[in-house]
């Protein structure tokens, strides 16, 4: 139970293609993250899976059943909204009970299920409160409990952590992941935050301008970006790209190190690196500068681990290098990666 299959889905708003010919299938019990900048169509795609938005073309299949034109209540899905969308006039208890009551579940069974869901998210003591009397973190838990209470076959989340402060977000992320592993419900999670995507996803779907750019595990996405968009969108600071004829050479900032620190059994590429600016961030140092000839000098960033204490000064040039195995080649015109990943 719990497989979503998206077949050639497009969504047009007027003449704007918000989602453009997307094909995607989830695995059983998987945590799938839709990642992309704002306006890339990820939320529209999620809303089409939920049934709130109807696709302009294509089909939506959930558990082998075509649901494209079915209303949300006939799809056996649950969704957590970015705003949580708690019903402000109902207590927490009634909020969580709402999906059950809408399905005509009997009163005593509702009470048991609500208590079970509230216990799972540790909000049992909040049941009599109204949403406005809750903190952001508590509201998020209520929204999760309301979504989980009827044990849907697919669980949809639209940036549920974006309204929490940074500290809470980290712990909520961990809890969410553990919870999903425990119940094993197929989950589709939308975010624009790459750290969240990397940390949570079994697989990540990177989207841009309504199209899927790459689908892969966090490691594949990071190490073998399919194109220059993925290479620069994932990772902070982004992948360095250097002009090289009709090719763009890409390497991650943490692989661009002082020449003596690079070990490359398969060879290295060395560049004279003119340092322009340094940032000390505690665990690491970010070194900004230029490589290459003066005429087509390119701006690159290096990320040095805190253990590398080599003194560097702005304005001076040092030999820096990248191991060949860390170098990616992209087609300059199409932006596509020329190598296949090890998978």
């Amino acid at each position: 139970m719990g497989c979503v299959e998206i077949r050639g889905i497009s969504k047009l708003f007027g003449s704007v293609r918000a989602v453009d010919q997307v094909d995607l299938a989830t695995n059983e019990g998987e945590f799938l993250v839709l990642l992309g900048p704002s306006g890339c169509g990820k939320t529209t795609l999620l809303r089409m899976i939920a049934g709130i938005e109807e696709p302009t073309e294509g089909d939506m299949v959930i558990d082998g059943r075509v649901v494209t034109h079915l209303p949300p209540r006939m799809r056996d899905i649950a969704m957590v909204f970015q705003s949580y969308a708690l019903y402000p006039h109902m207590t927490v208890y009634k909020n969580i009970a709402f999906p059950l009551r809408a399905r005509g579940v009997e009163k005593e069974a509702v009470r048991k299920k609500v208590e079970w869901a509230a216990g799972m998210f540790k909000i049992g003591r909040l049941l009599d409160r109204k949403p406005r009397e809750l903190s952001g973190g508590e509201r998020q838990r209520v929204a999760l409990a309301r979504a989980m209470v009827r044990e849907p076959s697919v669980f949809l989340l639209d940036e549920p952590l974006s309204n929490l402060d940074a500290l809470l977000r980290t712990s909520a992320r961990e809890e969410l992941r553990q919870f999903q592993r425990r119940v094993g419900v197929t989950t589709i999670y939308v975010t624009h935050d790459q750290v969240e995507a990397m940390g949570l996803g079994d697989r990540i779907v990177v989207m841009s301008q309504g199209k899927i750019r790459q689908i892969g595990t966090p490691m594949e996405i990071y190490l073998w970006p399919a194109d220059t968009f993925v290479a620069t969108f994932v990772g902070s600071p982004p992948m360095n790209l250097l002009d090289h004829g009709d090719t763009l050479l890409g390497f991650r900032p943490e692989t661009f190190l002082p020449a003596d620190a690079v070990e490359g059994s398969e060879g290295v590429v060395t560049y004279p690196f003119e340092v322009t600016y340094l940032e000390y961030l505690g665990a690491e140092r970010l070194v900004y500068g230029n490589v290459g000839e003066k005429s087509h000098a390119r701006h690159v960033v290096s990320r040095l681990p805190g253990s590398l204490t080599l003194p560097l000064e702005a304005g001076k040039t040092y030999p820096f290098a990248v191991a060949l195995r860390d170098l990616r080649r992209f087609d300059k015109k199409s932006g596509l990666c020329r190598e296949e990943g090890p998978s």
Partner: protein, 317 residues
């Protein structure tokens, strides 16, 4: 002259004007409103109380106190009792219809469709026209001989031929038969308040976050259940405000009854405000008229308190 010699006065050296003194400015700004309320509402209200306790007439407006005699006399008067009953009944019936219709209209106006601006314009029209002119228009519509409504009914065969649904007579005499006259007054009351109520309801409906309705949809609620459990409870405070505003306007209205029926036939459409006017001004018994009008006060005071409490509740949600 060099640029350096130009002196710019320091900001803290400038004199603080009236605009800087918020306390004084606030008093100045609110003064016209207070003056207006005292002059137009406070003074007449005190006068009404004084008159109601006296035996003043339009011929002799000197105040000679007679205690509560006027109130006792009003209560014994069957026309007064009918007026009181009519006022309450007309108001409640018309406002219940207004709440239902305005909710329907507001729901329709939330959707996008061709010619929406025209529908909006037509709905707002009764509110922009002076009540008296609008009501005179209705007087013609409901005319005993030339009523266009009757004309249409005759044309489609519902009236004026033997065996027709609405009778064989050529006209229905809307304002001449008690039941029809009462219905006509209520109809015009509805027509008049509907625009305001629709605008208020529209504001209420569009203030519900879309997320909430979508969440309810995903949670499995049918359209009917969404209306019943989400939309209605969330818009209840603002719907009540629309209702209470309508109550105030209709409860105190004189024009509709005065223009259409003058309280007739035989006082069957008499309301407190029209009876006050006929007794106090046309009949010349100022004291009696004042006493009758004061019977509206407890109802209006209660409604005003309710409106204020409702307004606070809409802020909290």
């Amino acid at each position: 002259m060099s640029g350096q010699s130009v002196s710019i006065p320091a900001a803290d050296g400038a004199r603080a004007g009236l605009l800087d003194r918020e306390g004084a400015l606030a008093k100045l700004m609110i003064a016209p409103a207070i003056l207006y309320i005292v002059a137009m509402i406070g003074v007449p209200f005190v006068l009404a109380v004084l008159y109601s306790l006296s035996d003043a007439t339009t011929g002799d407006p000197t105040l000679k106190f007679v205690g509560l005699r006027n109130f006792a006399a009003a209560l014994e008067d069957p026309v007064f009792r009918l007026s009181l009953w009519n006022t309450v009944a007309f108001t409640l019936v018309s406002q219940c219809i207004v709440v239902l219709l305005s909710r329907l209209l507001a729901t329709a106006l939330l959707k996008t469709f061709r010619g929406k601006w025209l529908v909006r314009f037509l709905i707002m029209l009764p509110w922009t026209a002076p009540i008296s002119l609008g009501t005179i228009g209705w007087l013609w519509m409901l005319d005993s001989i030339f009523s266009p409504i009757d004309w249409v009914l005759r044309y489609v065969g519902l009236l004026g031929v033997p065996g027709a649904l609405l009778g064989a007579g050529t006209n229905l005499y809307y304002l001449g038969i008690p039941g029809l006259a009462i219905s006509s007054i209520i109809l015009v009351d509805v027509w008049r308040i509907l625009p305001l109520a629709t605008v208020i309801q529209l504001a209420g409906l569009s203030s519900i976050p879309k997320d909430l309705l979508e969440a309810a949809e995903v949670d499995g609620a049918s359209p009917w259940r969404r209306t019943l459990m989400i939309t209605i409870p969330l818009t209840l405070p603002i719907t009540s405000i629309a209702f209470l505003f309508g109550v105030v306007f209709t409860f105190t209205d004189l024009v509709v009854v005065y223009v259409l029926t003058r309280g007739g036939p035989v006082h069957t459409t008499q309301v407190l405000s029209s009876w006050t006017f006929f007794k106090g001004i046309e009949g010349g018994d100022l004291a009696q008229g004042a006493a009758i009008s004061l019977f509206m006060f407890p109802v209006l005071a209660a409604v005003a308190i309710l409106i204020l409490r409702m307004a606070r509740r809409t802020e909290v949600v």
